[in-house]
């Protein structure tokens, strides 16, 4: 018996008693319906991913490494970041996750011009000075044009606080279905060890005023994927 929370036993006991009586399926339910597939299989995963990104306003930049490095440089210039050693104290900064195994080289290349104004998990959590963040992803999902990230990608706030979120990913990371991505989280057993995951599908948005779409409600206004083809 849980001393601090006596309601726990009462709730569980009530449920156990209540659920002894089985219930009928709804009038309209037909098991034959449930046996049919809900989604048609995807034929071309890469194209589907591309189309879904366009539909959900994710900016997808595909290319070889040099092209991605150039695109990244341009994105940061647009954001008002100044390359160089010593930007002023109030100047915008970039928050980048630590490079995972295998991406050290490209990380080094992407961030080289911005050493004076880049931070990461070692220097504490991101804050309002960070105009942009750079992270990896656990997986990309073709069905919905989404990315799945975990706290391994720079923590919880890195991908939601700055107005621009840039993701570097490799084309092999694209899986067809949400189910494939979720299954991956359970590769090492049913309970993942990380404390937070987010499926991200496009930049932050709201339609709370007259159902009109506005981007950048609380999270990033822009979401860019640099896809290493």
């Amino acid at each position: 018996m849980n001393q601090e929370n006596p309601a726990r036993e009462r709730i569980l006991r009530r449920l156990a008693a209540a659920l002894k009586t089985p219930t009928q399926p709804p009038w309209t339910h037909s098991p034959a319906d449930a046996a049919r597939p809900a989604f048609a299989p995807l034929t071309d995963i890469r194209t589907h991913f591309r189309d879904e990104c366009a539909a959900n306003r994710t900016e997808l930049i595909e290319g070889r490494r040099e092209e991605l490095v150039r695109a990244f440089y341009k994105l940061l210039m647009d954001t008002g970041l100044a390359p160089g050693e010593n930007p002023g104290p109030g100047a915008p900064r970039i928050y980048a996750q630590k490079p995972a195994a295998g991406v050290e080289a490209i990380w080094e290349e992407l961030l080289r011009p911005w050493q004076g104004c880049s931070d990461g998990p070692d220097s504490g959590p991101p804050d309002d000075r960070h105009a942009t963040s750079l992270t990896l992803a656990e997986a990309l999902i073709a069905r919905t044009g989404s990315l799945l990230i975990s706290t391994a990608q720079g923590g919880r706030a890195a991908s939601v606080l700055p107005p621009l979120h840039i993701v570097y990913a490799r084309a092999e990371q694209i899986v067809a279905e949400l189910d494939d991505a979720l299954a991956r989280l359970q590769n090492h057993g049913p309970t993942p060890a990380r404390s937070m995951f987010s499926l991200i599908t496009g930049p932050s948005r709201t339609a709370d005023i007259e159902k009109m779409l506005v981007l950048g409600a609380h999270g990033p206004k822009r979401l860019v994927i640099l896809l290493d083809a």
């Binding site: 009530r14 037909s30 098991p31 606080l161 279905e177 949400l178 709370d208 159902k211």
Partner: protein, 479 residues
Amino acid sequence: MNAARQFEQDARRIAVDVPLHQVLKKNLATYQHAAGLGRERFADWNAARAQAHAVKAEAIAHLDRYLLEFERNLTARGGRVFWAETAAEARDYILALARRRQVRQVVKSKSMVSEEVHLTPALEAAGIATLETDLGEYIVQLRNEPPFHIVTPAMHLRREHVAALFHEKLGLPESVHEPEALVAAARAEMRRRFLAAEMGITGANFLIADAGLVAVTENEGNARLSAALPRIHVVLTGIEKILPRLRDLALFWPLLATAGTGQAVTCYNSLIGGPRQENESDGPEEMHVVLLDNGRGELAADPEQRDILHCIRCGACLNICPIFETVGGHGYGTTYQGPIGAVLTPHLRGPRFAHLAQASSLCGACTSVCPVEIDLHPHLLQLRRDSSRRRPWREQAAFRAFGWLAGDGKRFEKLGRRGRRWLRYAQSLAAPSSRLDPLRPWTRYRAAPELPPESFRDWWRKRKNPAATNDAGAKAAHS
């Protein structure tokens, strides 16, 4: 005033509020268009609904077991679970926690359960500044109103309303009407509060048993910020939100988004399973999940209506409901509006809300759109049946008598004949819908149908046997 009278009074007023209906019509039409397109993304929407029903039915059938599994897996990462039997227990737990940890500012993302337990007023009364951060919720909080709709809290407002509100409360220039500018102003204001708050409160859309994760669906990012920045994260939700397996989300995420807004999936779907772990760089020091019963256990004990617990709060049944469109979300006077509100509220708050079952045309539109196949309109009928048993004996006797008369062909024919005669007499007394018209309760709002010269039965008899311009036909002419 009792809830039924209040409903009648409010409904009467709101039903003729033309400007409100213009906004509602537009918003609902936008939704229907998007949801229609969204359903086409599925190869078979009905297959998805049937599968979702099966998953939820399994989850609820073993709810006690799955809740324990969820608790075990979440606590393994250091999350804490508190079980609340009543709204007051849930409120008191969160309040005590906030006091103990010297919380002065709370940021809240959307949670209908927090509305159900009236959490924000309780925190505010304790001197803890509590900010609703979902834009729609923020707007209605500034207006001091309850949410109009479980998914779209500010569905009843035009941008002019929001502009006037932000001018008054945030000091925005009066001329700012563009949604982009209004959103930007709210974002800046709320960002400050996010960075200062010590506690973030969110709801949950699903509780995943096998993974020990809380799934939160949103578009704006305020729930993610609420779970990332403050040092304490509290999840307040109902016990019925269980899904057995993480992979069930591959169906439920698109299903909820499609039915809720017409999106393929919403912008952010987060899974949260505890406070910051050792190898993680940020996140709260503490995470608490408050599991609310508040009548749900008793609802589970009713096998006829248990499937109300399958609801994923998508709002589709509200959006299609002709009564919702007429009386609006505020007309119901409840936390949950529309058909789901009508069937759920009597279980949560007692039979004084049984009148909501009458607020339905029984058209069945709600049942046909529900993504988890809840028998909404049959439940409305069952609730009517149950409340008819609580009516005064005179009324019950009258209906029994009517049942007896109508239950037999001969008796029914006689009843019809008398009825027509009486109606004709009543109609002859005064001009329709004039104050003296005895049928005024009906004719005030609708034209009275013209009475046919003969009954269907008489007409049928004659048609089958034209020679018989007999008794029945002659009588009908008089009746």
